[in-house]
Symmetry: C2
Subunit: 259 residues, 2 copies
């Protein structure tokens, strides 16, 4: 049997609470998901866990629900931050969706010297995060920080949050890491040094053109920064994001546990 569909709502969830769905959410539930009065949904709001709810009324523009029992206690994803340079719109949307699925706690757009794209509108990012969280059985939503220049983001960073710096697409693309030989190592090796005991982490991915020599020097001069490579091929930014987050979750995050 298919489990009841999940829906994010922006309201407190308590037993016997009444929820009125907005026109848009109501349309989605009644028309897209084709639910009827009496059907069950699962609701979450990013802080109260997951609750079963039943559709009690379904008007043309408004559906109402009554909240039943809690199905899962609230839990957060691991404390993993993603710092990423905005790229082409569709690829940035993809980064936001996939980072949510992969259990990222904080999304932070950073503007580097070679960043040519604009950050997505905040509302758009929020919507993508909500939909991905619905799909992926997450109970919390990622926090979205406002875009910030890379230098500022580095000045304000917590000194003890290990930052994995993916040095893809260096200045010499034919020998991408030729200029920093021996100074960037396989990401898995760096993660093993950081260790599974770490409580927090961050991954930084640059724009398609990579980081400038000044940025790379600035990053390498910081403590608790780990320059890494993701293999001998050049990955696009969105691919590098997914690869790096997957590796982090596998070694330092919650993918290690037996399910």
């Amino acid at each position: 049997m298919k489990p009841a569909p999940r829906l994010y709502v922006n309201e407190p969830l308590v037993m016997d609470g009444q929820i009125a769905l907005s026109g848009e959410a109501s349309h989605y539930v009644m028309k897209v998901m084709r639910r009827r009065v009496g059907d069950d949904l699962r609701l979450f709001n990013g802080q109260d866990g997951e609750w079963r709810a039943q559709i009690t009324e379904a008007g043309k523009k408004l559906a109402t629900l009554i909240v039943g029992t809690q199905t899962r206690a609230f839990a957060r994803v691991p404390d993993l931050w993603l710092l990423f340079a905005p790229v082409k719109k569709s690829r940035t949307e993809f980064i936001v969706e996939k980072a949510t699925e992969l259990g990222t706690a904080v999304l932070h757009p950073v503007i580097t010297s070679r960043t040519t794209a604009r950050a997505l509108r905040d509302e758009r990012m929020q919507m993508i995060c909500r939909e991905a969280a619905e799909q992926t059985e997450r109970l919390d939503l990622p926090q979205i920080l406002p875009p910030q220049p890379l230098q500022e983001a580095l000045q304000n960073r917590e000194a003890d949050r290990p930052l994995i710096f993916c040095d893809e697409a260096g200045d010499n693309q034919e020998k991408p890491w030729g200029g920093t030989k021996g100074r960037a190592r396989p990401m898995l090796e760096a993660l093993r040094e950081i260790g599974p005991g770490t409580q927090k982490g961050a991954v930084l991915i640059g724009p398609e053109g990579g980081f400038s020599p000044e940025e790379r020097a600035m990053l390498r001069a910081q403590s608790c920064v780990y320059p890494v490579t993701l293999g001998p091929r050049i990955l696009r930014s969105d691919t590098a994001v997914l690869a790096a987050l997957s590796l982090w979750q596998s070694v330092c995050g919650d993918w290690q546990q037996q399910q």
Copy 2:
């Protein structure tokens, strides 16, 4: 300085060879990349390595090139196969693009009992692979096998190619791996058992609805099959592909080497 753009051509590459670009490739080089007579490109054909070439003539519908020196000797990606159930068109295109970037040798669409989407046209898959290979500095192209029912693909498989079977989205989505407790383990753990010394591997990803109980039993009954999980959240098929290929390359593939 930006390196010369890379272009796939379907012709032998030898020093002083002349290459006539097709109308489409010619348009791409002259109009999209805005190159002129005298400019350099880098060419590869999936078997002769990478060669520098110079534009010698640029008509409206035809550009010609002369091949110079070889810039990189031919090399293949690791012998990694991806078996994947076709999903929604845009997500399947994405799987093909990303698997190429992540260094997959063979792409094999497999039809499972819950597969609802059709496989992409072969030409379309080839085009996506070529473009991704151009971007990613790959020298070979993935081989694309014709779609095949899962059962047949398993009957014909090489017995000694370790198959990582990603058991995402099981039958009980609320406790996704509840029914197979202790029988699927974190992918990183399975890869460590397989070890970095392995010469070949395969990853199998199902459709959005997961595998049927019969398929899961059939897979588990085969030797050299490793049922694994990718963490406590439900990943979409395309996300699972990327995560699994990244982990394989990191432990068993060519991401371990210092660049």
